[in-house]
Amino acid sequence: MYAFHEAGGIPVVDPSAADGVFGLLWLVIALPLAGAAVLLIGGRFTDRWGHLLGTALPIGSFAISVALFVSLLGRDDDKRQIGQHLYTWFETGHLDVGMDLLYDPLSALFLLLITGVGSLIHVYSIGYMAHDPRRRRFFGYLNLFVAAMLMLVLSENYLGLFLGWEGVGLASYLLIGFWQHKPTAAAAAKKAFVINRVGDMGLSLAIMLFFITFGSTSFTVISAGAGEASSTTVTILGLLLLLGACGKSAQFPLQAWLLDAMEGPTPVSALIHAATMVTAGVYLIVRSNFIFDLAPHAQTAVVVVAVISIFWGAWIGSSKDDIKKALAGSTMSQIGYMMLAAGLGVAGYAFAIFHLLTHGFFKANMFLGAGSVMHGMDDDVDMRHYGMVRKAMPVTYLTFGMGYLAIIGFPGFSGFWSKDKIIETALADNWLVGLCALLGAGVTGFYMTRLMLMTFFTDKRWEKGVHPHESPSVMTVPLMVLAALSVLGGVFLIGDWIVDFLAPVVGTPEHEDPPIPALAVTVLAVLVVAVGVAVAWLLVGRRDVPREAPQDVSFATRAGRNELYGNLINDTLVVNPGKHLTTALLATDKYAVDGVLTGGPVAVGALAGVARRVQNGYVRSYALSILLGAILVAAVLLAVNLR
């Protein structure tokens, strides 16, 4: 068995050295990193084949990830933590930070998700970006993203994690602003980075507190010592990590950047802002289980943030007419589910990761599907201009439909298993939280059905001159693969496999009898979803969809369209006061600080006048003052000496 803490059953990180195939671990990161370097430094010389190289390298990483995964399965439970020390990053005093990698069941699943879904999205992008003159650069950025994301999930310490964390933030910035000639895209990119930086303050402070408390930022050291830290310290650590997670995962109150991030090309929205990067916050909390398990107050905070985010995102998703923004609202809401599960502790960690994986499949699938629709509709994103697309784009329709059934939790589809488990666990923990999770599922049914109906069913409302057509196979084949995964993703749960597999990392949940039988919860959840679907059918499917968004709508719709006034709140509370402060400080500096210390521009001006009068003889007057100074020094020294 794995090593356990004295108090409680929290596993400690204690990796063994990488041998055999595990020696290739570093290569998983190095391949896409090399791709990014070649494509971005190579410049135009790589234009012709850049996208092919950029796609081949993540596929190479995927192949290695599969090989590593198979080898990991071949090992006993207690030998499934493998460490690889690459070199010492920096060391001073008793702070010693290594470029150290940790491969364990948690990172193994992430590796498969990142490189697998990542490779599919690279393939899709070959088609999607075919006519973009800067396609090579796009693949360079995507490669950079994959490398950074892999670093994030493979690092054995918080500083290496932070390296990946900021790396994905950079890639996200570059890709949101990829079409940076559009001022909206450039503004969205900066906004995403800056809001993320607010979260990064939390993660940075956590890193500092980790060092002060444990003398290290390594998971190995911290997980071993966490039990001896004071409960105040672990609670603060938990809250700081949560702040970081909120930024990266677009959770309340740092969610405002995600909707704007849809300015990026759609494959970016699929890979970064749905399947992988935005789930990094969930990873951070599950990875830090050795802190959160000891910090019940921090866990409560995670649950509160999660529940707010579930409804916040769902509300936005229900009111947006922009297909990508509706999906983005949904992403925030679904990550809320993952956060909720992570906040439930040992009982929920595995299900958080399970939902993270299935969401990675079906949301990537739907984003790419949305991209395919946009491709056919001349890049129009307004669903009020869609309708009956299913006839024109049958493959896109069918694959998107699989994603739809998965996200609403249609029995048997992947999302059904993963969301059901979260609701079940939440109900067992606290009936109110469980009820919220249940209601959220109903809202999910509503907004996804609304999106599905407005896009693929109802009457044609196409703009003039738009003739939707099916996308080329380089785009539809990845859709088919993702659709298959959306359907079959539930296999991870067979025989509670994922729970047992992750147990060496997050611990084994205690088996409690739920207050309500599991089957009853499932039936209830399906019923609630059915209600949500039915409401959408009544409100959208049975009526005509106006081509222009009606303005005489309820407050709820108006608020949802305005993203619940998140931007207004940020502007009022942070941005505008910041602007006023800047103006005030500029004036202070000019009139008070400089005024007093320089004796005012007048005094210097007068001095300048004096200097000018000496026939522009700055040199002479300066030489003179030095001479005087030297004489003064000599005199004083002599005086002191002769005393």
Partner: protein, 509 residues
């Protein structure tokens, strides 16, 4: 070999170079010859710097020492030596000057280029002497001497209004220098009182002085260094200077000369006045924190690129000073690393901004937009330099910044919490600058603008490469400075706090 006066050679070569460049005869003065001569001397100096680095053994204290009596009556010596701190400053100086030369090749054309290159070499020679001096009097003399070339570089080759900027720069520096002079004399009094007067650093470190004396002298030194570095509230010369001087001059001033301030804090304030340094930490740390936040806000509000970059340095000098006075290994090593990384990163920013301004003919952010379309390479490199400035991990500044912040947090949690706001503010001033100047649609009139030429690229690429290399492999630099910081902290009489939770017996790895 080891008896060869390497440090003297290092100082003399650029000074001789300055003379030779200055006396190139009239018919050839307007040709490339004086520039080539100056570049040649700067490259020889760089090679000397590298030779010194190869002879350096981390942990052996002051090395390659040379001591000759200069004015016996006052205990003044011509004394040089190099430790980890000095070595990194020397390498920064010898590395940046050739880069500045290449980037500024045509900067002074039509305005006596020979003088520009000669003054720059003179500045380098004096700065190198500052970093190598182990006698306080010698230090003071060259400290003041650097002002002469700096003054002429600002006043002679900048933009409209440079005369005023040069004068303001000079007034501030002379003011600081005057206070330093008083303290230097005071130091002599104390030293003479204790027996034989000596300005040698090694003697002064053994000196036993009264608390009052120590504090007064500390304040004198510190004020001069705060003007130099600069810190709030003695910073207002900085933005005026960087706005009016050429970008190349700004690099020499902000990236090399200003480092004398923080260098002096480590070398002399902690070195000679350890108790007073501890006594003053609350005040100095407060000033450092104000500088971090205040400088960042001022930078956000600027409409002139060169002023903006100058003010980011106010924020960064705040970080460096914070690291020094937190008095821990991480803070000390982090701040020295920060001095190097800030030098490299800010040099890249200044030079690239200079390229941009040359192309657009204005330095006003509000008049530049959509440049990425025309000059993608310039925009890309500018972004990388900006990302280094905002402390992105993987680029060099991050390691130094996190080390300093760890030290700040160690000093007191709220000090760390204030300092950490710097990472958000830095993201705002860098990315907003990039957004306004580089992104957006290209404007009419920019059609003829070309991307970076070969000379311009050759000048800045080494800096950008260094940002990446030091971001991933900062350890060689830390290996050089860790022993220096250890012995300095020992001298001050502080040791690092152990972690609250002691590590398990097996240890980390």
């Amino acid at each position: 070999m080891s008896d060869f006066p390497w440090l003297t050679a290092l100082i003399v070569v650029p000074l001789v170079g300055a003379l030779v460049t200055a006396v190139v005869p009239e018919p050839r003065r307007e040709t490339a010859l004086p520039k080539q001569v100056a570049l040649g001397f700067s490259l020889v100096t760089a090679v000397l710097g590298i030779v010194i680095a190869t002879q350096f053994h981390a942990g052996d204290g002051m090395q390659l020492t040379e001591t000759h009596t200069w004015i016996e009556a006052f205990g003044v010596h011509y004394a040089l030596g190099v430790d980890g701190l000095g070595l990194l400053m020397i390498l920064l100086t010898v590395g940046l000057v050739p880069v500045v030369f290449l980037a500024s090749w045509h900067e002074a054309d039509g305005r006596n280029p020979a003088a520009f290159f000669a003054w720059a070499l003179a500045l380098q020679g004096f700065a190198l002497c500052v970093f190598a001096a182990t006698d306080v009097f010698l230090f003071y003399v060259v400290f003041e001497a650097t002002l002469i070339p700096a003054y002429f570089l600002i006043g002679g080759f900048g933009r409209e209004g440079r005369g005023f900027a040069a004068l303001k720069f000079l007034m501030y520096q002379l003011g600081g220098g005057l206070v330093l002079l008083a303290a230097v004399i005071g130091l002599y009094v104390v030293s003479a009182d204790a027996g034989t007067p000596s300005y040698l650093l090694s003697d002064l470190q053994q000196l036993d002085m009264s608390t009052a004396w120590e504090r007064w002298l500390f304040v004198g030194f510190m004020i001069a260094f705060i003007v130099k570095a600069p810190l709030f509230p003695l910073h207002t010369w900085l933005a005026d200077t960087t706005e009016k001087a050429t970008p190349g001059t700004s690099v020499l001033l902000v990236c090399i000369l200003d480092k004398i301030g923080t260098f002096g804090m480590l070398r002399f304030c902690l070195g000679i006045f350890p108790n007073a340094s501890q006594w003053a930490t609350p005040v100095v740390i407060t000033l450092a924190l104000i500088s971090i936040v205040y400088g960042a806000f001022l930078a956000i509000g600027q409409d002139d690129i060169l002023r903006l970059i100058g003010l980011t340095s106010l924020s960064h000098f705040g970080f460096i000073t914070l690291g020094i006075f937190a008095l821990t290994s991480q803070g000390g090593s982090g701040s020295i690393l920060y001095m190097v990384n800030h030098g490299v990163g800010t040099a890249a920013l200044f030079l690239l901004a200079g390229y941009l301004i040359k192309r657009k003919g204005t330095s006003l952010i509000s008049e530049i937009t959509g440049m990425e379309k025309r000059t993608p390479v310039l925009a890309g490199l500018f972004l990388v330099a900006g990302l280094a400035t905002l402390g992105l991990p993987g680029l060099s500044q991050f390691v130094s910044e996190i080390l300093v912040m760890i030290a700040a947090f160690d000093y007191h949690w709220w000090v760390g919490a204030v300092a950490v706001t710097g990472i958000v503010l830095a993201a705002v001033y860098v990315l907003w600058l990039y957004q306004r100047t580089m992104t957006g649609p290209s404007v009419p009139g920019d059609e003829g603008i070309l991307d970076l030429g070969r000379r311009e690229l050759v000048a800045v690429v080494p800096l950008l490469a260094a940002l990446v290399v030091f971001g991933f492999f900062p350890q060689p630099m830390l290996d050089a400075v860790n022993p220096t910081v250890d012995s300095l902290l020992q001298h001050v009489g502080v040791s690092d706090d152990p972690p609250t939770v002691p590590a398990a017996e097996e240890g980390a790895h």
